[in-house]
């Protein structure tokens, strides 16, 4: 499978690189841009980034394996991230996570991100999302939801088409 970055995206990436006196600094921003477009970071994307920034692939690969937000395989169209940390746990985030998993036919006890067979939804626990006063909180892709009750969860999921 050939990997190609559309011209418009490459122009955006070239602009990002100008923000830094040292090209390597742009690594995270380039990976974000690629992940936003392709949904995940493939081996080819790693190699493309390395070439773009004058690095060895390992310099980029070690970022993809370290930073939790980067995906090494495709995930669902809707990525549900449930905050797991203390204030949200006190506010019922474990029950909420289980609710999402049960509803979507996933195993709430499994670690890491899980995706439904049809590729529509992914569910995972993440650490404190910096909104602990409105626990429990979740993110779906770039959108943020606060004080998520079960009813609200139902409503949010039903809006994901």
């Amino acid at each position: 499978m050939s990997f190609s970055v559309p011209a418009k995206l490459e122009t955006e990436i070239d602009e990002l690189i100008t923000h830094y006196p040292v090209k390597r600094s742009a690594s995270l921003m380039v990976l974000h841009a690629l992940q936003e477009h392709f949904g995940w970071i493939s081996q080819a994307a790693v190699e493309w980034t390395a070439k773009k920034l004058g690095l060895q692939p390992i310099n980029v690969y070690e970022l993809v394996t370290f930073y939790p937000m980067f995906r090494q395989q495709p995930v669902g169209k809707y990525q549900i991230k449930v905050c797991r940390t203390l204030s949200c746990a006190l506010g019922g985030s474990y029950a909420l996570h289980k609710h999402f998993c049960d509803k979507l036919g996933l195993d709430a006890h499994k670690h890491g991100v899980q995706t439904t067979k049809d590729g529509r939804f992914s569910v995972e626990f993440v650490e404190c999302l910096a909104s602990c006063g409105t626990a429990p909180v979740i993110m779906i892709n770039e959108d943020f939801y606060e004080g998520v009750s079960r009813a609200k969860a139902e409503e949010i999921v039903s809006q994901c088409k």
């Binding site: 006196p21 970022l63 939790p68 203390l86 006190l90 650490e127 910096a130 006063g133 409105t134 993110m139």
Partner: protein
């Protein structure tokens, strides 16, 4: 009655206040910057001249401002350490990683009043001869990053950024840099490594003090979002006037993030030290008390890394009464919410995040939750931190899954005591040990009882449960 004092959040929640530049300008935005850029050198009696930059730095020193990111270090002092003779460029980085569990104050500023942060940054950069600065924002705040990019573009369009700002001859560029979900990027040297495009492995100090060998091995200032906003107000009102807010050595205001079992969780800006922990939890202006029928069990006073306070705990505080030093015994609820009182109580105000737990909380589960966070977030460079954080989390996992042992409390203490104290590269080692040390010490009977109950159950059920336990252990190990 204690109440809020809104300095940083003065406009943020007003109806109709929007994050765009027109709204900010309408509310007097960038006037302080204009004033600063027009400052003249000051002729001193000894014939020397003090540059506007030096004057601004003096004001920040006089203000007594202490960092709002976690350590509470003097901002003026930090700036005074910057190596200004190296001939290398000086960088400034705004730490917007906001990842300390319980903390959600920087989010409010970024989302509701981004230009205040940008004005504070431009002033701080001008005062330190910085020409290139970054805002390192955590990856999980994509909207915040967009808002900041938009605000920066608006500022550029009005020549508040870029070349020759407002004709002053001063050039500055600020860019947004996004993290990608790792807590350790909040630690300033880890942040710098991350901004250099590497894994965020914290650097060892000495020699890598950011003020001397920071970003690209150049002098670098790292300050928290709220700290940089304060700089704007210091320049506006003067350092001496700012120092009148709050209490001595604990000046200004702080935005407290209040979460957990209170009726009114949220963010509250207070004069530092003018409100007690008890008032923050119980006063109708703040937390509004616990849920009905519930009693207080424990309070984490400064983000999850801070040592826990147990309801009813007493502390001896050294205070000044009529100019005399006296020692007073105070209940944990009567601790003034400031840097120094909490240090005297053996904990810290950290990122000013208070997590309240009522008597419905299983304290062992609460610690297990926190320790899982640290086990997940250790960067792995130092053996005591990498292994210790994981061992603690595993022991707590078994204690909360029916697999505990009576000796687990001692085991946890032993590990926690062997991580901090100069054995690790960064303060994460302390951060992961403090909760364990304090929870286990203050609630030891609950940890022991849980382990003992599990042991008793195993003894009673004999072989049958042993094999079931072995099976469970396998699944745990597989995780």
């Amino acid at each position: 009655m204690p109440s809020e004092y809104k300095l940083i959040l003065k406009h943020a929640d007003q109806p109709g206040y929007t994050p765009d530049i027109e709204c900010y300008l309408k509310h007097g935005g960038y006037e302080v910057l204009k004033k600063a850029l027009a400052m003249q050198p000051l002729d001193l009696p000894d014939g020397k001249r003090k540059s506007p930059q030096e004057q601004l730095r003096d004001e920040v020193m006089k203000s007594g401002l202490r960092g709002r990111g976690g350590a509470g270090f003097s901002c003026g002092l930090k700036w005074s350490f910057v190596d200004r003779r190296s001939g290398k460029p000086i960088y400034l980085i705004c730490n917007a990683d906001e990842s300390e569990p319980g903390t959600f104050k920087d989010r409010q500023i970024i989302h509701k009043d981004p230009h205040q942060l940008i004005e504070g940054m431009i002033l701080s950069c001008f005062a330190n001869d910085v020409k290139l600065a970054y805002i390192y924002i955590r990856g999980e705040m994509p909207q915040g990053a967009k808002l900041l990019n938009k605000a920066l573009a608006e500022a550029r369009a009005k020549n508040l950024l870029g070349k020759n700002i407002l004709g002053s001859g001063y050039d500055l560029e600020i860019h947004v840099h996004r993290g990608a979900g790792a807590y350790i990027c909040g630690e300033e040297t880890g942040l710098i490594e991350s901004l250099e495009g590497k894994r965020p492995y914290p650097r060892i100090k000495p020699p890598y003090f950011p003020a001397v060998l920071g970003l690209y091995m150049c002098p670098t200032i790292v300050n928290n979002v709220e700290t940089l906003c304060n700089v704007k107000h210091i320049v506006a009102m003067g350092g001496a006037e700012f120092a009148k807010l709050g209490t001595p050595n604990n000046t200004g205001t702080r935005i407290v993030s209040l979460s957990g079992h209170v009726k009114r969780p949220g963010y509250y800006e207070i004069e530092v030290g003018k409100v007690t922990i008890g008032e923050l939890i119980n006063d109708p202006n703040f937390g509004g008390g616990l849920r009905d029928g519930r009693k207080l069990k424990a309070v984490i006073p400064g983000g999850s890394s801070a040592k826990v306070l147990k309801a009813g705990e007493k502390f001896k505080l050294k205070r000044k009464v009529d100019g005399k030093d006296v020692e007073q015994e105070v209940d944990m609820l009567d601790l003034p919410y400031d840097f120094d009182s909490l240090l005297q109580a053996g904990t810290m105000s950290g990122s000013s995040a208070i997590i309240v737990m009522d008597d419905s909380v299983d304290i062992v589960e609460a610690l297990a939750n926190i320790s899982e966070f640290y086990a997940h977030e250790s960067c792995g460079q130092c053996t005591p931190c990498r292994e210790g954080s994981l061992w603690m989390s595993k022991a707590l996992h078994r204690l909360t899954h029916g697999e505990g042992r009576k000796t687990d409390a001692d085991y946890l203490e032993k590990i926690a005591n062997n991580i901090p104290g100069g054995r690790t590269i960064c303060a994460f080692g302390e951060a992961c040990s403090w909760p364990v040390q304090s929870f286990v010490a203050k609630f030891k009977d609950e940890f022991v009882a849980k382990g003992a109950a599990d042991e008793a159950k195993r003894a009673q059920n004999g072989v049958a449960s042993n094999s079931a336990a072995a099976k469970r252990r396998e699944t745990v190990a597989a995780h």
